[in-house]
Amino acid sequence: MKSLKICFLLWYVLFSFGKAEALVTKTYTFNIKINDIKTMRIITPGLANGQINLLLFPVQAGANVTTSPNSTDNHSWLQFTSIAPNNTFRKIQVSITNGSIPRGTILTLSAIQCTTGAGVRGTTATSADPILLKRNETKPLVTGIGSCYTGISATTPYSGYNLIYSFMPDPNNLGLITSFTNNIVTVTFTIINE
């Protein structure tokens, strides 16, 4: 029995020395990654089926077919989030990818500078110079987007870039206009690196 106690004592002493060696400092390397993110959506509060509806007609005898409250729509907001690599900027471009603009008319799109959210939310030059939308012609709507978010509010006050569509007669081709209903075009917004 006595020899057994001596063996335990000897094991404890040896184990204690071993434990002391395990306290040596070690360095660990953590690889932290933030994914490249660019994602967006368009909200259309108050619009049935999320569809923009524009109507053009002469409002007074002798007057041109002209813009009216029904030929302009500002019920859509573009919201996006972006985490961009260093020194990388994005842009959002638009084009008509399906359907075509009726003869004798033009469709323009502009955006009002986003003031919600935070970060490098880009800029738009379209407030003063609206984009003339044409089929398969891609044009920039917002440029210089870095890491940012616009906000996600879908109730007043809304977040993001307010989009304004204007449907109007082509002043050079008014005579080509004929009446029609339900001509639908698809406007596609794409966020890509600049």
């Binding site: 109507l55 005898a61 002798g62 077919v65 989030t81 935070a118 978010y149 569509y165 206009i177 639908i184």
Partner: protein, 186 residues
Amino acid sequence: MSFQSRCVFILGFFLTNSILAQKEVESVKLPVQMSIPSAASLSLTGSDLQFSITGKGTEQIISTSTVRSVWINYSSVVDVNSTNAISVNLSTWNLPAEVAITLKVGPDAGAGFGQTGTPTNSIVLSTYPQVIISNIGTCFTGQGIKKGHELSYTWVLRPGFDSEILTEGDLVGLRVAVTYTISSSK
């Protein structure tokens, strides 16, 4: 950027991203529907315009003093392969049987745009509608005098009546209503 601003940015980013990035979307589509209904309207203007109403047509009260200085303005949007036409008729009158009124429609003044109509030759106003401007496509004439087509009225004795029976005084106070209507000729 202060510590608080950084916290707000990070919190906002993750809140936004958690909603928007459930499925990362780099492209979104939005349908835009456009419509232009067929429409046509006309109006009369001029210093000698005594009365006009809108409704089925535009009505003008004319008297022997109504000679020129009346202009008809119109706007029109037509269907494919369709045109509009403007017709005129006497709607109320108290004309002596021997008196007739002729109407001459001038060419479009060119103040508008598009396919304005073609005026017909002079007509004698009657109670049944007669086309005075045809082949109107999508167009507008402009609004006001010297825009659109000038209307010229002439009060005349019908052939065969003796001008000595009807004196100039008999024409004083004569008033008739003339109705202009624009409609599709499809």
